[in-house]
């Protein structure tokens, strides 16, 4: 939103690195505490297969969260990711009806994600529209197309080898999704923290005009970030569709909220300019463990969403309340 421009440029927070460092170690402590609490709360928790199941709660969301983290650091946001999942899944289902095999399905899923990301990116960078409204619009549009195609129907009958992406295990209890999640975490860490491109993302988030004047192609970097977010939504769509084995237009409804929560919980500044991938990585575990623990205690999904919503606000509110109280 436009508030971004007002707050970012002239106010860099205290020693950034030290603060983030403490945020991540705090998060790690929280994750460990939840882990211990869970193992006391339910006898079914401490079991290799249970824990492996628990990872499915967050792997798909986390894949998107990595790309979303970069996008939010650059000062933009994409609220249409859940709808991209729906549209990519619908496209794969349609391809399946036409007799496509698994490799084609993958290409269709990734391609749809890229196209949707490109669409968002063009609207934001070419036409200069605010990303929050654009992606609220495309959120309706992308899922709307799924509804037009599917109505109250569903696509089923995905080939057996397609099931590997969402249900397969690489070895023992380590699922394909989990391996992909860790790989992506490493790739995004390197890109954000070890490359020129990563530095430009921070620069843009802190001061878009300053970045432009220092020769960074702001619009182009933002476009690439929208592409990446769309691509990750496509990857998540493949995993989710494969795991569920069917496509309905209501697939992944409300997932964008959890992705944004994960990113914010990971210490990324919602106004842009700061944040790390390791933070998001740990936040994924925290959220996965919380929802899995509550699930084991038979807490209904909608109550969990209260926890997610409170987490989203609390994570930003608490440090500010703390700062106000110390003053």
């Amino acid at each position: 939103m436009s508030t971004t421009e007002r707050f970012i440029p002239d106010r860099l927070q205290s020693p950034l690195a030290t603060r983030l460092k403490s945020w991540e170690s705090l998060l790690l402590l929280v994750a460990i505490a939840i882990f211990i609490a869970n193992s006391f709360a339910s006898p079914y928790f401490l079991n290799a297969w249970s824990l492996s199941d628990a990872t499915f709660n967050f792997t798909e969301k986390a894949m998107i969260a990595f790309a979303m983290a970069l996008l939010i650091i650059s000062g933009e946001i994409d609220l249409s990711v859940a709808s991209i999942i729906a549209l990519a899944s619908t496209a794969m289902g349609a391809a399946l009806q036409l007799g496509a095999g698994t490799p084609v399905l993958i290409l269709v899923g990734l391609g749809t994600g890229l196209l949707c990301g490109a669409f968002n990116g063009v609207l934001v960078t070419r036409l200069g529209l605010p990303s929050i409204v654009v992606t609220i619009g495309t959120m309706s549009l992308f899922r709307g197309i799924s509804y037009i195609v599917l109505g109250d129907q569903a696509f089923r009958g995905y080939p057996a080898d397609f099931a590997f992406f969402g249900q397969g295990y690489v070895f023992w209890v380590v699922s394909f999704e989990f391996v992909l999640f860790v790989l992506l975490a490493i790739i995004y860490s390197v890109v954000l923290h070890r490359t020129n491109f990563g530095r430009t993302v921070y620069a843009i988030g802190n001061n878009p005009t300053g970045a432009l004047f220092s020769g960074i192609r702001v619009a182009r970097v933002k476009f690439i970030l929208f592409l990446l977010t769309g691509l990750m939504a496509g990857v998540a769509s493949i995993c989710l569709t494969s795991r569920l084995g069917s496509t309905r237009p209501s697939i992944a409804t409300g997932l964008e909220l959890e992705v944004v929560t994960m990113v914010v919980l990971g210490g990324v500044n919602i106004l842009g300019g700061s944040g790390t991938i390791p933070g998001v990585f740990i936040a994924a575990f925290v959220m996965g463990l919380v929802t899995f623990g509550l699930g084991l205690l038979n807490v209904p999904g909608i109550v969990m969403s209260i926890v997610i919503g409170a987490l989203l606000i609390g994570v930003i509110a608490l440090p500010r309340l703390w700062a106000m109280w110390r003053k």
């Binding site: 200069g128 409204v133 432009l212 409300g254 409170a310 606000i313």
Partner: protein, 327 residues
């Protein structure tokens, strides 16, 4: 120049609605009979009420995504009160609805004002929290028509001078807020705060506090609509008006309210809502599946925001063309 463009925005929309109606009339003359148009207006009244509140919030550079959840929570509370105490006069129900809605809106407002949390984050969070609270309150059960008292259900349908009460309330809200926005200091403060927050601060306006009142008004209207909604449809459950916040934002954007704040009128919100209302009511008449509606409102948001951006871009002197694009 800008003034003239804005003045014509309402005219353009009115024309668009007229053309739309004329097109439908060529094939389905029954649609444009006064009785049916009154029906369409009545059907759109909840959207008009929420769009007026949302417009004020957007004017102050914020956004309220929690309106539909606020509506549903307030609706559930008043219908449960009605079940518990069927004899309670409707005036009390109305006061409770407006009061609770205002309180929920004030929670948003306080978080934005006192803790300076971005409005999108606050209202994404409270959106899920409010929905979850409905579940906790109702235990996931429905309040059905036969459980509600007759007086409770009769109020929005009561005919006054040929129109139902629901329509009259929407008309009253439009008149009231047109007066508030154009004739009171608070109304002008909303424009000032959104148009230029720094200048507003220097003229002695408290930006955060003004935003707080915008959220309170949006909440009050959402609460009021909550009662009208559950009594009109004679049912209340967790998911009523799910996703309706997107229609509300769409109505505002279509109505020419700039998402960057400071630009917009009550008349614009009214016409934006009516535009969507006519489309929604015409779809079944012209035999298009209701599944198209989501994609249509999504496209309408994108087209309208692109249109707004073009209309607003001509203001001021462009010093660095590409910076304007990316900022």
């Amino acid at each position: 120049m800008l003034k003239r463009l804005l003045a014509s925005r309402e005219v353009i929309l009115l024309g668009a609605i007229g053309v739309l109606l004329a097109l439908i009339a060529t094939r389905f003359p029954g649609f444009v009979t006064p009785a049916n148009l009154a029906g369409v207006f009545n059907d759109t009244s909840p959207l008009i009420l929420l769009a007026v509140g949302q417009m004020i919030v957007i004017l102050t550079k914020c956004i309220d995504l929690s309106v539909a959840a606020n509506l549903a929570l307030t609706g559930m509370v008043v219908s449960m009160i009605n079940v518990a105490a069927p004899g309670l006069p409707i005036v009390v129900i109305l006061l409770v609805a407006v009061g609770l809605g205002t309180a929920l809106g004030m929670i948003n407002g306080l978080l934005v004002w006192k803790l300076a949390i971005p409005p999108i984050v606050v209202t994404l969070g409270t959106m899920t929290i409010f929905r979850g609270m409905i579940f906790l309150l109702s235990d996931g059960k429905w309040v059905n028509s036969h459980e509600m008292s007759d007086a409770f259900k009769a109020f929005p349908r009561a005919q006054v001078l040929g129109l139902p009460m629901l329509s009259w309330i929407a008309i009253a809200a439009v008149i009231l807020f047109t007066l508030v926005m154009t004739r009171t200091t608070l109304g002008r403060a909303f424009y000032a705060v959104g148009g230029n927050p720094h200048a507003a601060t220097y003229t002695g306006l408290n930006v955060g506090k003004t935003q707080f009142w915008a959220f309170a008004i949006s909440g009050a209207l959402a609460g009021l609509t909550g009662y009208l909604w559950v009594s009109r449809y004679a049912v209340s459950y967790v998911d009523i008006a799910g996703g309706f916040e997107l229609d509300v934002v769409a109505a505002c954007v279509i109505g020419g309210i700039s998402i960057a704040g400071g630009i917009g009128t009550v008349g614009g919100a009214l016409l934006g809502a009516l535009f969507l209302g006519v489309i929604k009511n015409a779809l079944p008449v012209v035999n298009i599946s209701p599944f198209w509606q989501l994609a249509i409102s999504g496209s309408a948001i994108i087209i309208a925001v692109a249109f707004n951006a073009r209309a607003n871009r001509e203001k001021g002197r462009i010093i660095l063309k590409s910076a304007e694009h990316t900022a």
